[in-house]
Each structure stands twice: as structure tokens, then as C-alpha cells.
Symmetry: C2
């Protein structure tokens, strides 16, 4: 851990990068030739296009040198081989192994962990067949028609975003097996609202908590069990668990069955583990989930390439670091032009901000440069009628990540006034990229667009399960590479601990802090 864990600001390549002239005018950089060629293949007809990013050839060369100097692909290989990359928690980082093997056999406690993850997938698949064919039924003997996941954070945002991304397309193809719902917030109105809408006798619940101790999830479990009992349904016949083998939940008798994960897959990286696979396979079946995992694995393969112009996740990561640490931009907007990706920005917000919102490097020293940015976004074209005003004419520059597809999912596209809805959607997408980059002059000051707003575009023919898996893994790998570049541990989350501890003091009546005590009194009035 010497040469590979430099701070960003002690890298020679970073000094070179900082010394380079930034792109003077994005409008002149963005030629038709560049639009057609400044892109990296992500396979399956999917591309990462960076034509409208403010990076020219000298900057790209310096970024390549930075990647080489920080040995980020080598660090990725170590991670794949089972090195302890989450140093603060002394854990391996193995989410890539949930969708395929690229490194050495990773053995823990005498078990090959690739086999372990695969076994869990196989067990989930076998269980899903029983649910789908009616062998496993609810307490009243009815077939399950709904599935509801109880989980929070990584047990909610990723699986929910993935489900929403595929549900309409699968339903349109008559392939939706069970409709899914999600309960996450400890606010009783969350469970209350979802339970009011569910036919409980036909609903299978999935309780997801790695530790088996998550306050919100266990609280909502109790509300759900009580609701089932109030309809004289045996909760144990309506619930499965996804947890670690060592958690208290794993020993409980209150479940139809349990599927296992382990400490080497972090919550925000767990969509391809049992955490995501159980609900997705119940909703869509095994074939869809296998395609989804294959797409993710494909991006993991591409991420091994040391050449930035053949490694989309690495290039994306490097450009982001350049924008954050050289150009000084504070935030990034994720703008999928796809209603199916309506919650994908919320997932990326967790993935990115929880992984790289850190101030301490892997040697336990405070860093003196910016790390992860604020990430936010909404599905387009909705955002255009909302926050794009600030993106175009505000006083800060916010780099943009567009995502688009040539075709829709649901087969309801129609020609209306000379073009289809999908054509209108994509016309907006392309127009925005150019408007942000080039702007326009105008004699009235408030109609001037300065332009110079950089964006990248990921596009594919259609949002299939495989393409969704690719998208997911692309951003996971981007975030991982950025953590390597910043020399931070992207795989722990110590920042959630203090709030948990103080919450326990409040609930246990053991408040030590006098200000906290005063807030408690406000809320008793």
C-alpha cells in the first residue's frame, strides 16, 4: 500500500493536469466529427459518448497518466482477487463476484464465495418457480400475486430502481409475474399506505437486512406481521428473509425460507446479490435476472482495460475527477430520458454520495481536496420544466450525465403531429446537450445562454434487462475508480453511525447531550 495509495494531490499527473489549459470554448470543441467519434463502446450497442465534455487530447492524455500513476486497474484487480479493499472494516469487496468471476478464486471459511453467491441465486430461482407455479402459497391457500420488499438504503433504493426500470416493459410483454411494492421509511405512514393497497392474502414479503438489526426494517416487519395476523394469516407463510448467515434473522423460524448475503457486499452494491435478485426474480423470473447479471458482468470485464479510451467506467471516473478537482464543480446531475429510470438517480445518489462523501484517506489522514460531489436528478423531459433553468443560466456550472434509448419499452409509441413520443423525447435530449454546450447570444441579457456546460451521454437501443445491468455496473465501477483516484475508502460508511447512536440515546431515555434533550422537549409539546 505505498505507490498505489497516493493522495490525488501528490500525483505528478495531477500536477500536470492542473497545469494544462482548460478547454477554452466547448462550442468550438463540439464538432460533428467529435460527436461521432468521442465515445467508448460499452457493448450490446451501448456507448459512453463524451463529445460534450470539456476534455481535449492533452487533458485525456494526462487523465490516462493519472489512471496509470494511481494504478487504478491494478487496484481493481486486487479487489477482484479478494484483497481487503475496505480497510477500515477489514473486509473484502466482492459485489463483482455476485455476477461472475474475473479474478482468482476467493475462498472464505473454506467456501468459494463465487459458489456461495451462485448457490443463493440458484436457491432463489428454485423458490421462485414454486411461487410462480403455485406450489408455495399464502396462509389462506391463495396464490401469491404480489411481492413486497421491506428494507432501507441499499436494500431499497437499488432493487426498487431496478424493478421500476423493467416493470412496464415486462408487463407490456405479459412477462410480469408478480407486481412489487416496497416499504422502507420508519414513518408509520409508509407501511400504512403500502399495506392499505396490498391484498395481504396474496402478498409475499421479503425482509432484507444484512445485519438483521436495522431499526426501520425490523419495525416495519412488526407492522407487517401484525397486519397479516389481523387478517388471520400466518406471517411465517408470507415472508422470506434475505440476511447474512450470522445475523439473528437467519436463526428465526418466522420465515418460509431465508436467502443469504455476506459482509463482502455493501448495501449500495447489493442489487446483483440476493438483495436485488430475490425481488427481481419473483417479479420477472430467472431469465430476466440472468440477463441483468450478464450485463453487469460485461461492464466489469470492460473495466479491466487499462486504456481509458476502451474503459468507459474509468474514463467517466477520470472526467468526473477533473471536473471536481481541477474545474471545481460542486455537483452532478443525472438525467435519464426514460420514465422507467425515474428512481435511478436516487440509487446513484446513494451509490455515489455514500461511497465517496469522505474526507479521510485510506491512511486515516484528512485529504485537502474535494471528494464526491452532490448527485441529483430526475427523468427527462420532466427536469426540463423544473431545475434546468438553473443548469442553463445559474451561477454555478453543474456537469450533466444524460442517458437515452432509441426505442421505448412498452409498445405504446404513436405518431402525433408528425413525430412519435419517443422521437420527441430524444429530440429534446439531443437539443439539451447542444444547448448546454453551445449556448446562444442574444441582445437581451436574460435570454443569453453562456453555454460551456459539459455533459456526457450513455445511449443504447432499448432499456433491456441486460442494458440495465450494464448501466448499474458502469456507475458502480465509476464510483470505485473515483475512490481509488481520491485514495479514499469507498466501501465503508462511518458517517451513518453517530446519528444511529444518538437516536438510541433518545429512544432509550439516556440522552447525554443537553441540546438533544432540548429538541426532545420541543417534540413533546
Amino acid at each position: 500500500m505505498t505507490k498505489t495509495t497516493n493522495n490525488l494531490d501528490s500525483c505528478e499527473a495531477f500536477a500536470q493536469l492542473t497545469a494544462l489549459q482548460p478547454v477554452g470554448n466547448l462550442a468550438t470543441l463540439l464538432t460533428p466529427q467529435r460527436v461521432a467519434t468521442a465515445q467508448v463502446a460499452m457493448d450490446d450497442g451501448m456507448w459512453f459518448n463524451y463529445a460534450a465534455k470539456a476534455v481535449d487530447e492533452p487533458i485525456l492524455q494526462a487523465l490516462q497518466q493519472l489512471a496509470d500513476e494511481q494504478q487504478v486497474v491494478s487496484q481493481y484487480r486486487q479487489l477482484l482477487d479478494g484483497a481487503v479493499m475496505n480497510g477500515s472494516e477489514q473486509r473484502m469487496v466482492l459485489h463483482h463476484l455476485t455476477r461472475g468471476q474475473l479474478g482468482a478464486d476467493v475462498v472464505h471459511g473454506g467456501t468459494s464465495l463465487r459458489d456461495f453467491y451462485q448457490q443463493q441465486l440458484d436457491r432463489i430461482a428454485a423458490f421462485c418457480v414454486q411461487v410462480h407455479n403455485g406450489e408455495v402459497r399464502g396462509g389462506s391457500g391463495e396464490r401469491f400475486t404480489r411481492v413486497c420488499q421491506i428494507g432501507i438504503g441499499g436494500s431499497d433504493l437499488g432493487p426498487r430502481a431496478m424493478y421500476l426500470a423493467l416493470a412496464h416493459g415486462q408487463r407490456s410483454q405479459k412477462q410480469l409475474k408478480l407486481e412489487a411494492s416496497f416499504i422502507s421509511n420508519v414513518d408509520p405512514d409508509d407501511a400504512g399506505q403500502v399495506l392499505a393497497e396490498l391484498p395481504l392474502s396474496r402478498t409475499l414479503f421479503i425482509l432484507v437486512s444484512k445485519s438483521g438489526t436495522t431499526q426501520e426494517t425490523l419495525t416495519n416487519e412488526s407492522l407487517v406481521r401484525e397486519a397479516l395476523r389481523s387478517q388471520e394469516l400466518d406471517p411465517a407463510r408470507h415472508m422470506v428473509a434475505v440476511t447474512s448467515e450470522t445475523s439473528p434473522l437467519a436463526q428465526s423460524k418466522g420465515f418460509l425460507t431465508s436467502f443469504y448475503m455476506d459482509d463482502f457486499v455493501g448495501g449500495r452494491f447489493s442489487s446483483t446479490s440476493a438483495v436485488g435478485a430475490a425481488v427481481l426474480m419473483l417479479a420477472f423470473g430467472e431469465t430476466v435476472v440472468k440477463e441483468f447479471l450478464a450485463g453487469a458482468h460485461q461492464q466489469d470485464c470492460l473495466a479491466l482495460n487499462p486504456n481509458v479510451d476502451e474503459n468507459p467506467a474509468l474514463l467517466d471516473a477520470l472526467i468526473g475527477v477533473y471536473e471536481r478537482n481541477v474545474l471545481g464543480y460542486p455537483a452532478t446531475a443525472v438525467l435519464p430520458y426514460s420514465q422507467a429510470l425515474s428512481r435511478f438517480p436516487a440509487h446513484l445518489q446513494q451509490l455515489d454520495m455514500e461511497s465517496n462523501g469522505k474526507s479521510v484517506n485510506r491512511q486515516g489522514q484528512a485529504v485537502r481536496y474535494a471528494t464526491g460531489p452532490v448527485v441529483f436528478g430526475e427523468a427527462g423531459t420532466n427536469g426540463q420544466h423544473s431545475f434546468y433553468q438553473l443548469l442553463h443560466q445559474g451561477t454555478d456550472r453543474i456537469p450533466l450525465q444524460f442517458i437515452g434509448f432509441l426505442r421505448e419499452q412498452g409498445g405504446s409509441d404513436r405518431v402525433i403531429q408528425g413525430s412519435t413520443s419517443q422521437q420527441k423525447l430524444n429530440a429534446n435530449l439531443m437539443a439539451q446537450i447542444v444547448a448546454f454546450a453551445k449556448g446562444r447570444r442574444h441582445k437581451e441579457a436574460n435570454k443569453v445562454f453562456v453555454g460551456q456546460r459539459p455533459s456526457s451521454l450513455i445511449y443504447a437501443a432499448q432499456l433491456t434487462p441486460r442494458v440495465l445491468g450494464s448501466l448499474l455496473a458502469h456507475f458502480e465501477n465509476k464510483v470505485m475508480f473515483q475512490g481509488f483516484l481520491w485514495n479514499i475508502n469507498s466501501f465503508d460508511q462511518e458517517g451513518v453511525q453517530l446519528g444511529k447512536m444518538l437516536t438510541q440515546q433518545v429512544l432509550g431515555g439516556r440522552v447525554e447531550d443537553d441540546a438533544l434533550d432540548a429538541y426532545c422537549r420541543l417534540f413533546q409539546s
Copy 2:
């Protein structure tokens, strides 16, 4: 327009503010005494508590001077009296008048506009009675059980957020009259998915477009009409319009009836106009909407007070400007500890970023200071398991806006392991405020919390219709005051125009820009 439209950086009070010593240690500032007293009444048992904001007495005095020097309450009074406050579009700004009158009679074209807005509300109420009692029915003779709003931007985000905020509570009290859905995105998968789930013979659609020309909305209207016809339902018996009297839609025969708005209520401020009232009254009835409007009007009254310690919206605005322009913070997170407010941050994101994401002052000159920040957020406790890591331990400080309630809406709260869900929710909320402000020391660097993260808290007994109206108007008025302080026009949105124009070029086959043409070719491959 001389003294009242100073730039922020030419104000004497701003120079004084900048010269003041910032609060050295938020942890020592946050005493129990301060928690109990550093708050402004919002009436109805609702409070704006700024105890954990990094503003001490000298800073508050300078902020009061800044408000006085910029004459912001006087500008607000001019606005209420019908002054042309949207200068670039030469329009009055009258959303306050949709919920009550506080200034002079505003007469336009011989009509008192307060009367006009009230008449539209009365017409909506009369129509809702006919729908609810079954006098007005769908094409097949069935009663309407669902309402679906077709609109985008301000015709979607605000009304949707308001509907979601009240739906569970109203349903729990058996007061939900029609369940509501929303179609916004031009992506055909949006309409496709919503229509697949709606019982069309029992669904009433509301088409909302002020101009009657919004591309997304008219396209979705066509999809909806086609879907109705495909079930042999007469679209004209399933659709009402909300539009301006001068729009092409207002002349159309294809609606059961039309309700009117005008150019003096901007989309993002239109939740209390016919845009919000139609769907909310169909869903919840007249009483609920009247309470909602009364709550908004109440905040409009409070906003007239020139004393910052009695004007919660003004104080909130001033603290935000201090954080943005003196402390240099780039973003603000909105964190409602209420699942019912799940889309309230998305509404505030539009309200704030579209209003104040501007770089040009009201005299048409570029400003040399930061204006509106990035606004983002999710309902708590979900955010704690997502992006709070960065908020606690990231390299940027992001000011926070917490919102909380003593009681839940739905009556499903239960004691589980010694406390109810609502108690757990609020324990988390209070713990977070203190954790962000005070942080903690630790011998391991990655477990250190530096603290010094400022937050404010708006809290009330329960999220009732009246409290929701108060919340909505509080933020509208905050945004308005910030626009006055920054000397920008918060009421136009020129930043959306360029993208629209380029989109029309693409769809019309008249692309002038060669890079845009190249992007079009990418999407034809």
C-alpha cells in the same frame, strides 16, 4: 426601481455582513436555551426553528439591516398590489391572490382578479360536487372513481406533491373521494404505464397547460384520447381542461368543461390556483382545499412583517443568502421526516432552482455573486441510509432543511420494542440535527465527525391540509424574498427556451447546428 433594486454586493448591510466574524463553533452556540427560543411562530402550532443555523445576534442584526436596505417587504407589498414584478415578461405576479387578498384590488381588463380566481375555485367546487354525487359520469355511464392529471413542470410537480402529502391521511379518514394519478413525461412509457393501470371507463382526466401549447402535455392528451376511444369511450366525456382563457385549448369542444388560470400565476407557483385546486378538490373535496388555501394565506400574512424575528419566510431567506454568499455553500438539502412529503423536495427543487437559477439582475446586467443553490432531498429516514454519509463527512458543507411532525397521518402507529414508529422517526430527526451541528471526536480519523453542519427545522403537530398550505407558501415566499435580495427576476424562466427551440428544429427537420445534426445521426443508428 432605484433604491429597491440594488445588487446584493452593492448593499452596505452586505458589506457589514461579510465583515462579521462567522460563528466559530456551532456546537457551543447550540445551547438548550437556544433550541427552545431560536424559533419563529408560523401559527397553527407550527414553528421555524433556526437554533442549529450558524447565525448569532450580530449576524441576525446585519440580516435585518439587509432586509431593510433591500426593502424586501415593501417589494412584496408592491407585488401584492399588482406591480409588474416580472419585468422581463411585463407581468404582474399574483399567486398570493389565488388564496386571499392582502393588497389593493388588482383589476385587469375590467375584472378584479381576486374575483376571477375565486370564481374559478367556485366553478371547480360545483363541478366536483357533480362528479362526487354521480351527476357527471363517464362515457359508459359509470361513476368516476379516479382522476388523472396530464401536465408537466408546475402543472405536475406541485399538484402531485400536494396530492401525495394528503392522500394517505384522507384515505385513512375515509375522506378520499377519487384516487389521483399523474402523467407528465413525453416518454410514451409514462402514459403507457399509467393508462395500463387505470380503469378508463371510471377515470376523469384533467389536461393542464396554461399556454395550451405544451408539447409533452398535448402529446399525452392524444395518447389518452386514443386509449379512451379504443375502449369506445367518448374522450369529451372524460376530460376537463385547466388553461388560460386565451389559449387554443379554451376554445376546444373536446372537454366536459374548462377552468381558467392566467399569465399572472407562474407554473411553479400555481398549486393554489385552478392547476392544483381541480385535482385536489376532485380527490379530497372542497373543505380540504379551503383549509389548504387558508394555510397558505396565513403564511402570506406573516410574510408582511418587516421584523425578521416575526417573519419566518424572510428569516429563512436571509439565512440562505448568508450561507450562499458569505459562507459559500453550493447546495441545500430538504429533508422531510414524513413519507407523505416524498415528492415535496422535487417540488421545492423546481420552485427554487427555476426561480432563482439566474445570472442576470433586473436591470439586465450580469451579477457577480452566486444566486440560487442546487436543491435536492428525500424523505427521512431513507436519506440517512443514502446520501447522509456525504452530508456528515464529505468535503463540502451542505445546509439542511429538516421538516417534522409530532404525529403521523394514518393512525397505524404502534409501540414496537418500547417506542412507536413515529417516536423512532422523530428520535432520528432530532439526533441528526445534533449530530450535524456538534459532530464528535474519535481517535480513528474516519470515525470523526467535524460537525458544524447547519440546519433548520420546521415542525408542526401533524401534516394537515392547513399545515401543508403553510409549508407550500413558506417556501414560495422564501424564494421570492431571496430573489429580491439578489435583485433577480424570480418569476421568468428564459433558461427553458433554447432547448425548446432546438427541439423544434430537430422535429421539423430544420437543424441548423452541425453538432446537433451529428447527435441526430447517433440516434438513428
